[in-house]
């Protein structure tokens, strides 16, 4: 604990004198603040992408995993009979929790996004759909297919697996990609701060020489640089995070028609996640500058 507090002391010690010993450098300040802001902005987006992908994967994974559809394609005269036969088979199948035929209105609603409103579905050879909900144990799909083939030859069982699995996998990859992006942004921020701090320390070799001559310890000299860069990055990251949140807020609201793209936002307590971005950036800047300062001061000894 003591060593941890000693490590943090350059940040916790508010010393106006120490803050003034390093010459101000306007361009570097603006560049560091801007870079930190840009990185924080990107982090907020990566976070939103990752969390939205996570939600999507969960939706596709959980909600659709326990549902199937039976499509009955039969001549108009046989449609009702085959539907009834299929429903009977389903009620007798272990692992089927419930099964119901979709109404004409429901089927119309499903087709509306493609054909528009007012579709005369009654006059079209549209297959009848049966929505099947499974119990947690699930059913024997091969056995069910065989029974359906015998009782309702026009029935085709669709477990959604064919399209659901790659989508869940893709959403999972997107989520992973989001976190990898955050890691890369964090590492890039650390590299940027290290480079800036190294350049600043090298440019201020005479300042360091004077400070050492008058009895400044390495901790004191390092703290002047560490505090400066940490505060700059914290400020920039706070601005970038607010800008990122505003951009997310300005995105269109989530709806079924928009699908994934309009779901790229935070939901519920996930809105608190971006609040961690500025402190994380400050911690990264602190550690990077501390490391750079110790190394350069060691080399200049």
């Amino acid at each position: 604990m003591k060593r941890f507090l000693e490590f943090l002391s350059p940040l916790l010690r508010v010393d106006a004198g120490a803050d003034r010993v390093v010459p101000p450098s306007g361009f570097t300040v603006r560049l560091t603040v801007f870079t930190a802001a840009a990185m924080a902005f990107l982090t907020v987006f990566a976070l939103a992408l990752s969390l939205a992908s996570g939600r999507l994967a969960q939706t596709w994974g959980d909600d659709l995993a326990r549902s199937s559809t039976i499509r009955i394609s039969a001549p108009a005269g046989q449609m009702a009979a085959q539907t009834e036969a299929a429903l009977k088979v389903l009620t007798q199948t272990p692992g089927v929790e419930s099964a119901r035929a979709l109404t004409t209105e429901e089927q119309k609603a499903l087709l509306e996004p493609w054909f528009g409103p007012g579709l005369p579905i009654e006059s079209l050879p549209v297959p009848q759909l049966i929505d099947v909900a499974e119990t947690s144990e699930g059913f024997d799909s091969d056995g069910l297919r065989l029974r359906l083939q015998a009782e309702a030859p026009g029935a085709v069982l669709d477990e959604h697996n064919r399209w659901r699995r790659p989508l869940v996998a893709a959403a999972g990859r997107l989520k992973l990609l989001g976190w990898v992006s955050i890691l890369l942004i964090t590492a890039t921020t650390a590299a940027m701060v290290t480079l800036a701090a190294n350049a600043s320390l090298a440019a201020n070799a005479q300042v360091i020489e004077v400070l050492r001559l008058v009895g400044a310890t390495d901790g004191y000299i390092a703290s002047a640089f560490v505090r400066r860069y940490t505060v700059r990055v914290l400020t920039g990251a706070a601005v970038g995070t607010v800008a990122g949140l505003l951009a997310i807020l300005l995105m269109p609201g989530s709806n079924d028609a928009g699908g994934f793209l309009t779901g790229l936002r935070f939901e519920g307590w996930h809105w608190f996640w971006p609040a961690f971005v500025p402190p994380l950036a400050a911690v990264v800047a602190f550690a990077a500058t501390q490391g750079a300062a110790r190394r350069v001061l060691g080399e200049l000894a």
Partner: protein, 225 residues
Amino acid sequence: MIELNNVAYSYGGDALLNDITFSLAPGSFHFLTGPSGSGKTTFLKLCYGALLPTEGDIRIFDHSAKDMGRDAVAYARRRIGVVHQDCKFLDHLPLDENIALPLTVSGQATPDQVANLNELMSWVGLTGKGDALPPELSGGERQRAALARALIMSPDVILADEPTGNVDWEMSQRLLRLLIELNKMGKTVMIATHDLALIRAAKAQVSARVLRISNNALQSAGVDL
């Protein structure tokens, strides 16, 4: 206070100082002389821990320099006021903050010390120059400012490397009188200079020991300058 025992210092394979044994006693006044490049600055740097000997041992306030970490050297420097010929300052800070820098870095910048700062600036003849930036000062003013900075912590030892190198004769006499006055106040003073006239002028006012670095060795120059 500062002891050198059989000290040698080499740089790039060339011996600059060899087998030097010396003790800087409290309250003493020393001149260190010798031709340019003889090793006077190196000798002073060894005395305040900026360099470590390649052979032998240096004790600074009873601590072996070789065993002192960088922080321990920093604390020792708060008891040693150093004045260089090429006085270096923080050019972005006004003169009063530069002179108070040793207080700032040691966390002793109290209101009492600030009052001492004004008194000290007056004593070295820099009254009214507190707001000036170092690049705006003349060579003599920079030398006096460096002296004031070296004295602000009331150090036990003052090491001055060619403190009169950039100033005219009148200013060099004024700086010398300041250093002699400090010695009379009990401070230990060592001045590295090749200005023999300055040494003769000082010896008329204070009991000073003159050392000479010649052929990498430290010798007592006696009175026959």
